[in-house]
């Protein structure tokens, strides 16, 4: 249909077609060029420079391989790589243990109060991992955490029950934040299979647990594996938890090692070389994941055609419900509650009592300290601008791509999705290498952070925008054009109003994570462009957990508000429609 109206498509046009294209330049062609340029700046530039500086000598810029020799020439640095991979694997395993029973319970069984599981998942999304860690330091500090104090008091033991400053502590913190990925993937997989096979097994006398293990689980295995890959990648690219827990525990990870290269003596070139495995692992695993999820090998996974019946699992439903609550408590309620209490305390070590109650932390953070005031304003300002920017670019590209207005539009789509395979911290190093030094000299400015945020969250925006655009039939715009309106009129009066919901969802989906982003910000902030996440990280080094908790609670409250707003205006599932 489109092809009949738009003269710009149709490959048969040949040479004369190209000529005509140049003569009748519609604004849309300029837009294409502009978008292409913008995406070069956002995506190609940083990665190009990242690779380039990794082969350059610091200072004079001549070609060298020394950066690679230095980055991989010490056992400690290699150890960090191994530690990170191990961390990713353990975290993924723990996430499976957390999330697969939950997903199975919600999708297949007659477990009551399924919203309970959803609440846990949502809670994990709301609390960023570095805040979960801070809450847990107060819970499970080896000597002072109330969990360990209680344990000692109960048992008279010398050793703590659980030391948060440990490898397992880091694994647990990341898993508590990342298990929703596996939950969503597994649930999506389970929702696609009909129950007929399970019923067949039941008729043949197989007990429920045996059927679930031997029939259901293998069917959703590709989905679980897809989730595992995402969790693995999230874990190895995370900065906050390794820095807050790993440095005191003396566990070196790739991201904290990168941070060290960005310290003194400053070795950005070595950092670039050292970031390569992170980039390569991510690209190849995402590729594997796509293969897994696109494989249509199972005839059973053919949409929702089959009959689905909830399994009656008897008393076990209560066990599963308790499990959902337990995971939620670990992920959200316990650390959240502890943080709220600490934020109202004079000294977190003193415990809860009237004499320890104070509003001073909030007063300091909100009204006295210029640092925190600035950081709060910056966080929302950067996130807002980045969300609008990413959305604008994504919408333009989605429009051009779905309406097939120009040739090679898919290149734009590809560039929009490319940051998905670039870990945030690697992207930040790329931005630093490309735009911090002269001639652009964006070092330490707000601009470099905003632009990096746009690039980081562009795939999310594009996913939302493209989905929204596909849902609008082009016939409506064509009607406008038949009646003599230009394309811009069609966009203004037809497309934009129809996309309102998409626009809003797209904004929030970037805005919320951008207000708390740490990995992409840590190398890019300057004196006047600090954000809350970085400030929290800086403040943990002075052990001022009460003030940190107060800022944490501000993040918590605002995030909850925006998520609520999203539910209200966009729909219940807007956070869960991850396009991973």
């Amino acid at each position: 249909m489109t092809d009949n109206v738009t003269p710009y498509v149709g490959s048969a046009a040949g040479n004369r077609g190209y000529m005509r294209r140049f003569l009748n330049l519609e604004p849309i062609n300029l837009l294409w060029a502009l978008l292409f340029l913008v995406l070069i700046v956002l995506v190609v530039g940083p990665i190009g420079f990242l690779i380039k500086v990794s082969f350059q000598e610091g200072g004079n810029g001549s070609f060298t391989l020394d950066n690679y020799l230095e980055a991989y020439g010490r056992w400690r640095y290699l150890q960090a790589l191994i530690n990170s991979c191990l961390l990713g694997a353990c975290t993924a395993l723990l996430c499976v243990i957390f999330a697969v029973p939950m997903a199975w319970a919600v999708s297949r069984t007659n477990m009551p109060a399924k919203w309970f599981a959803w609440a846990s998942v949502l809670g994990a999304f709301i609390l960023p991992p570095y805040l979960t860690s801070i809450g847990w330091i107060l819970i499970a500090g080896p000597n002072s955490g109330w969990l360990n104090e209680g344990w000692r008091w109960l048992t008279g033991a010398e050793t703590p029950l659980f030391n948060i400053y440990s490898f397992f502590g880091i694994v647990l913190m990341i898993a508590l934040n990342a298990f929703p990925f596996i939950f969503l993937f597994t649930k999506a997989g389970l929702d696609m299979i009909s129950t007929e096979m399970e019923e067949a097994a039941a008729i043949l006398g197989s007990p429920t647990w045996y059927t679930s293990l031997k029939i259901t689980l293998p069917l959703v295995w590709p989905s679980i594996l897809g989730g595992i890959i995402i969790v693995f990648l999230e874990s190895i690219a995370l900065f906050g938890v390794p820095a807050i827990l790993g440095i005191p525990a003396r566990i070196n990870l790739v991201t904290t090692q990168l941070f060290q290269f960005f310290g003194y003596p400053f070795k950005m070139e070595v950092a670039a070389a050292y970031a390569m495995p992170l980039l390569l692992i991510t690209i190849s695993l995402i590729w594997v994941q796509r293969l897994l999820l696109n494989r249509k090998g199972f005839v059973t996974q053919t949409g929702k055609g089959g009959e689905r019946r909830e399994l009656d699992i008897g008393k076990w439903k209560w066990v599963l419900l308790a499990w959902c609550g337990f995971v939620g408590a670990l992920a959200m309620y316990l650390p959240g509650y502890t943080m709220v209490v600490a934020s109202f305390s004079e000294a977190w070590g003193k415990g809860m009592s009237a004499s320890n109650l104070t509003l001073a932390n909030y007063y300091d953070v909100l009204f006295v300290s210029r640092l925190t005031q600035e950081a709060i304003v910056n966080s929302f300002y950067f996130a807002g601008v980045a969300a609008c920017g990413a959305l604008t670019i994504a919408l333009c590209v989605a429009y051009v791509v779905t309406r097939k207005l120009v040739p090679f539009a898919n290149v734009l789509a590809f560039l929009c999705m490319a940051p998905f395979v670039i870990p945030g911290i690697v992207l930040a190093i790329g931005f630093y290498a490309a735009y911090a030094p002269p001639p652009l000299g964006l070092y330490g400015t707000s601009a470099i952070i905003i632009v990096a945020f746009i690039a980081r969250f562009l795939p999310i925006s594009y996913g939302t925008a493209a989905a929204g655009m596909r849902s609008i039939n082009p016939e409506m715009e064509e009607a406008v054009r038949v009646l003599g309106g230009g394309r811009l009129t069609a966009i203004r009066y037809v497309v934009a109003p129809l996309l309102k919901k998409t626009l809003f969802a797209g904004f929030l989906l970037v805005f919320i994570p951008a207000t708390r982003e740490l990995s992409a910000a840590i190398f890019l902030v300057g004196p006047s462009s600090r954000v809350m996440s970085v400030l929290i990280f800086d403040m943990t080094e002075e052990g001022r957990f009460e003030a940190v908790a107060a800022i944490g609670c501000i993040i918590l409250v605002t995030t909850t508000f925006f998520v609520w707003l999203g539910f209200k205006l966009v729909g219940r599932d807007f956070m869960m429609r991850t396009n991973h």
């Binding site: 500090g141 002072s144 790993g246 060290q260 310290g263 400053f266 000294a347 030094p437 330490g444």
Partner: protein, 341 residues
């Protein structure tokens, strides 16, 4: 890179000749008001103290605001080094906690030579830290030990640094990381001289909790997370005076004292406000304020803080400048090798 440094050096020389003729404070204030602000890279004081000092400066000199950029010694220097490398001028005043940074900045021609009115009015031991006028002593904060009085009695408490590596404190020691904290770096240089590389191996075996800043361990002690640890005299004194269960240990083998200077980068965007601010840091008013935080006063007119010994009563041990220049980076490397991170 070389070009930038050269330019900075030339610029510095120009500004220096301009400023070396002592400008009166009033004149400086007028020019500073036109500049409106001063950006302070600081490691010597904790965030809240630095902000309070900045606020007090603005109260004293309305119209000149202070942007506080606080980080640990190594981190704040790395930031300044990145600024210089990128040819960006952001820092007006640099208060690091590792002397060697000041020395290399001076040698590379990146510092402004200046002579604030209050420069010659400091206490005696702080006067001749830098005879050429590239920086002035703004902090003399000894590194001491401390213990939590709820968990440890005065008799049990260790009396010198080797207590940190005594196996009886295994799992109960709070430390900070020389790779981040400047003062911890010079402390580690001293420990290496006194007790050799084995000291770090024994310390590692004691499983300490390692913060990034030297302000972290005392807070860890107050929270009851660890029983003994290191810290700056000022932080421990302040926490103690606020009624927290913490007591100072003056190690018999000598508290570590390294003076910390404040300098002005040659490319400071607000050089007049910067000079006014450094002059304020050296004033009686600033010393009065610092004492309330347990810090040592820079001025002889101001009495040392209560609850702590005065500097001249403390048995001190200090690494020399040469030891620091040649020792800090290697000891950080040693630390990372021994501790694995």
């Amino acid at each position: 890179m070389h070009y930038t440094r050269l330019a900075a050096a030339v610029l510095g020389a120009f500004v220096a000749t301009g400023a070396s003729a002592q400008t009166s404070t009033d004149e400086l204030y007028e020019k500073a008001k036109a500049e409106g602000e001063v950006t302070w890279y600081v490691a010597q004081f904790t965030t809240s103290i630095a902000e309070d000092i900045g606020q007090d400066f603005t109260n004293a000199y309305p119209g000149v605001n202070v942007n506080v950029i606080r980080a640990t010694g190594q981190v704040v220097y790395s930031r300044l080094a990145q600024d210089l490398r990128n040819g960006v001028a952001q820092a007006d005043v640099f208060s690091g906690s590792d002397q060697t940074h000041l020395i290399s900045l001076k040698e590379e021609g990146n510092l402004l030579q200046f002579s604030p009115e209050n420069g010659p009015k400091l206490r005696k031991p702080y006067l001749d830290f830098e005879p050429d006028g590239y920086w002035y002593t703004t902090s003399a904060n000894p590194t001491v030990m401390a213990y939590n009085t709820d968990l440890v009695t005065a008799e049990e408490a260790p009396t010198n640094w080797t207590g940190l590596v005594d196996p009886k404190w295994k799992g109960k020691v709070a430390m900070s990381h020389p790779g981040f904290s400047g003062s911890t770096g010079s402390w580690a240089v001293l420990m290496r001289r006194l007790y050799g590389d084995e000291f770090f191996e024994q310390l590692e075996a004691n499983d300490p909790l390692i913060g990034r800043s030297l302000s972290d361990p005392p807070n860890t002690l107050v929270a009851g997370e660890r029983a003994i640890g290191i810290g700056t005299l000022a932080t421990v004194t302040r926490l103690k005076n606020a009624g927290n269960p913490i007591e100072i240990i003056y190690p018999e083998d000598g508290a570590k004292l390294t003076l910390s200077g404040t300098a002005i980068p040659a490319n400071a965007p607000h050089p007049n406000a910067a000079q006014l601010f450094v002059n304020y840091l050296l004033s009686e008013r600033a010393s009065d304020l610092m004492v309330t935080y347990g810090l040592q006063p820079m001025r002889p007119e101001v009495a040392p803080p209560p609850g702590a010994k005065a500097i001249d009563e403390i048995n001190l041990a200090s690494p020399t400048q040469d030891e620091l220049i040649n020792g800090v980076q290697p000891v950080i490397e040693l630390w990372r090798r021994v501790f694995g991170a």
